[in-house]
Amino acid sequence: MCMYDFIIIGAGVVGAFIARKLSRYETNVLLIEKENDVGNVTSNANSAIIHSGYDPVPGTLKAKLNVLGNKMYDQVCSDLDVKMEKIGSLTVATSEEQMKMFDELLIRSKVNGVEVRLVNQDELRKMEPNISPNALGALFAPSAGIIDPFNLVIHCVENAVDNGVTLKLNEEVSSIEEKDGVFFVKTNKNTYQGKIVINAAGLGSEKVARMIEDVDWNLIPRKGEYFVLDHYKKGFVNHTIFPLPSAKGKGVLVSPTSSGDYIVGPSSEPVEDASDFSTDLFTLNNVKAQALDLVPNIPFVHQIRVFSGIRPTTTRHDFIIESSDKYKNFINVAGIESPGFVSSPAIAEYVFDNIISKLVSLKEKANYNPKVRPYVCLNDLSSEERNFYINKNKDYGTMICSCEKVSLGEIKDLFTRSVPPRSIKGVKRRVRAGYGKCQGGFCSPKVALILAKKLNCSPLDINYDNIGSNVLLEEVKK
């Protein structure tokens, strides 16, 4: 049985950044994930916004880490080769009463240290020609951005693995025992020994925390349902448009995404079952109605997908980042709800500076490399640049996904990486093959066959997502 210095449970955005942070140091780290891919649950289904941080209640961890996280993203995305654009957010008031709420938000922004300014109706209309005529003004936060949430986590774990972290997928932790300062972490496949355990299990974090001791908080999974509209044209909206925040959260936003699509949502309802990602028409119609209040002519004819994500909110209503009462070497990083995504790199720093560095002293690696090997994204290139790559490798000339214009070469490159895809969804999340207008109608059979070849298995063993989500059931009698 191998002994690890650190065992991180959960390879979502939080676990990924903590793993990457630890991979800088001379220490051995195990990252365990129950899914068939990293970043596959809450990190996979959210608004993908790098929030500015003007609205969390000042003094909370959310406020502090959001603002710090936001500032880290330029460097993070440059190191990890992830698409991110600081397009700015507009929080829009549609009544005089709402206009008055800006006073409070301006104070919050100031305390949180976030640059914002009020824009009047004329300027708002110039910035967003499709905004509702009822919109009277908005709070503009230029540091808010949009990001590719899939590749952020994937590249972050890839970078951690490149720097020595061990990743285990499809292993779900079933129990943890402590004996003489060592944790025995049992999964469905193995038992691992670790000196320090970090619980970054997202929706499973309460369950994992309670494997060690009773905790004074409960997880309240909160589901959000969304629409995705195809990138039929640019500029329908140019910023992330929010209503004013309420007790239920940031409300239904309308925003471009980093891939040029448009996203509308989320709803926000507590749910019993944190594994039920179903969507329903009643909720979606509600989302639609709220979005149309802000932007009246959203072209839902271009709707290509609906999805839901579940946020791990807790009874504490703030991020929970602390050692367990009983074991200083067991660290809970839980309740990372919105603005969790943007906060994550700062959460990793916080966990390291405030907890880990007080437990152990670590030496920096001499050969740590913060960067992933750059990805070739043909859509960002000119014809000449494309031909440069095609001359080197003709697979870059063979197109697999016609909607998103993804080449065979880009898909094959994924299998040379340290966190390769293992499912159709895994390919889709990495290169967008199947994310377009036809939703994989044209390319999913091709992708399934490429996967079978690369994973050296029968097409019958190809999963859409997790193990057991097989796409094909039987070979036809010949």
Binding site: F227, V228, D230, Y232, K233, S275, D276, F277, S278, T279, D280, L281, L284, V301, Q303, I304, R305, V306, F307, S383, R386, N387, I390, N391, K394, D395, G397, T398, M399, S402, C403, K405, S407, L408, G436, K437, C438, Q439, G440, G441, F442, S444, P445, P459, L460, N463, Y464, D465, N466, I467, G468, S469, N470, V471, L472, L473, E474, E475, V476, K478
Partner: protein, 417 residues
């Protein structure tokens, strides 16, 4: 930059017919760009019979039908490129495509014909309620897996939507040993051809439930259950009408949509069919860019696609020779009462021997008059005992009828008799 007279995007039935006809009309310099590894498009996977009744007066399978056109393309030495996806086009008709042999190529064309076919509407577009697990698959994808690659995507199957591909797949899956539990259609009538309902459902005792749709898909990794509920006139689910089916697959046959995203980048005017708006030459509002086949409006019979392809090929040849004069003063054709859409949407020139209008009715109707009116004056009318949305209607106005169009408006509508 290399120049070509005519680039045809898409080497399916519309594109091949267009190429052959353009060549016969004197265009020598043609290039067909096909994204797949064979000419023929979707017909490659349509191994059932029923193609060619109008075109060849015989019943052929998809591959048999397409091979007759491939043969002509070869005999006429019309160049084509396979595995070649068009990445971009511009208003001044520069076409950029990519393949593994030539890399990325930019061509300047005198004319372009869009023959890019259609794609299947998926679960996300209709906000399909419930889980988004594996086992929710469109009929065409399941057909491709089965007929091209030899794999069954489902063994206990519920089909949503009674479009023709769904019906054909009900039969095909049954013949391969799968159990098709039912076909559910949200409308109070079927959207497939009558012959397909008889041959694909009735012959195999597969029930067709009308005014019923999926109110929930249940399943963790793979579909486990599908719940169907009755809908009212407003398409709302009626509580208490649930029917539960244990199955591993939900097959979707819920509509086809013209696949023309390349036109979005060049300000092409689009119609309610989600294809381009075209004039009496099948030309879009972008000079020299034509559209035909399923990327213009979805056809129910391939023979009509071929015919429309030929028309586009002929017109592109006229255009290249400078024989089409656009007036910029066109007549607008609108769909009136009871009509879903009409192609063409514009008329540039009334000086035709005849002009065919293609349209679909919004819902099934009996004993109606189809009336063409211009300036409140009746130009022509046709009596039809039955019209149903699943069958495209084609009506031809002759020279004399066309001469009665005196205003800039032509409306096609249904009137009761």
């Amino acid at each position: 930059m290399k120049e070509v007279s005519l680039v045809i995007i898409g080497g399916g039935s519309a594109g091949m017919a267009a190429a052959i006809e353009a060549k016969k009309n004197g265009v020598d310099d043609i290039l067909i760009l096909e994204k797949d590894n064979d000419l023929g498009g979707i017909l490659n996977q349509c191994i059932h019979n029923g193609f060619g009744l109008t075109e060849f007066k015989e019943e052929l399978s998809g591959p048999e039908y397409l091979s007759r056109f491939v043969k002509q393309v070869e005999e006429l030495h019309i160049p084509y490129r396979l595995n070649s996806l068009v990445l971009n086009i511009t208003k001044d008709k520069v076409v950029t495509y990519s393949n593994d042999k030539e890399g990325v190529v930019c061509l300047k064309a005198k004319a372009i014909i869009f023959a890019t076919g259609c794609y299947e509407r998926g679960a996300g577009a209709i906000s399909l309620p419930g889980s988004r697990c594996s086992g929710i698959i469109t009929a065409g994808v399941a057909q491709k897996y089965l007929n091209i690659h030899g794999y069954l995507a489902g063994k206990r199957v519920v089909i949503l939507g009674s479009g023709d591909i769904g019906l054909i797949m009900a039969r095909r899956l049954t013949l391969e040993g799968a159990k098709v539990l039912c076909v559910s259609e949200i409308m109070p009538y079927s959207n497939g051809l009558n012959r397909n309902i008889a041959q694909c459902l009735n012959d195999f005792n597969i029930p067709l439930y009308l005014s019923r749709s999926v109110s929930k898909v249940i399943g963790k990794n793979r579909v486990e259950k599908v719940i169907l509920s009755q809908v009212d006139e407003k398409m709302q689910f009626i509580p208490g009408t649930e029917m539960e089916f244990e199955c591993d697959t939900l097959l979707l046959s819920i509509g086809l949509i013209p696949y023309v995203s390349l036109l979005n980048n060049i300000d092409c005017e689009m119609s309610s069919t989600k294809g381009a708006k075209v004039n009496d030459y099948l030309e879009t509002n972008i000079d020299g860019i034509f559209a035909c086949g399923n990327c213009l409006h979805v056809h129910d019979v391939v023979d009509f696609v071929t015919d429309e392809g030929r028309e586009a090929g002929r017109n592109a040849a006229l255009y290249i020779k400078g024989l089409i004069k656009n007036s910029n003063d066109h007549i607008t054709v609108t769909n009136g009462n009871g009509i879903g859409y009409v192609v063409p949407q514009k008329i540039e020139n009334l000086d035709h021997e005849s002009l065919t209008f293609k349209f679909r009715v919004r819902k099934p109707v009996n004993n109606v008059r189809v009336v063409f009116k211009s300036n409140e004056t009746e130009v022509a009318s046709f009596i039809r005992p039955v019209l149903i949305p699943s069958e495209m209607v084609m009506l031809k106005l002759n020279k004399e009828q066309l001469s009665k169009i005196t205003s800039k408006e032509l409306t096609v509508s249904l009137e009761e008799r």
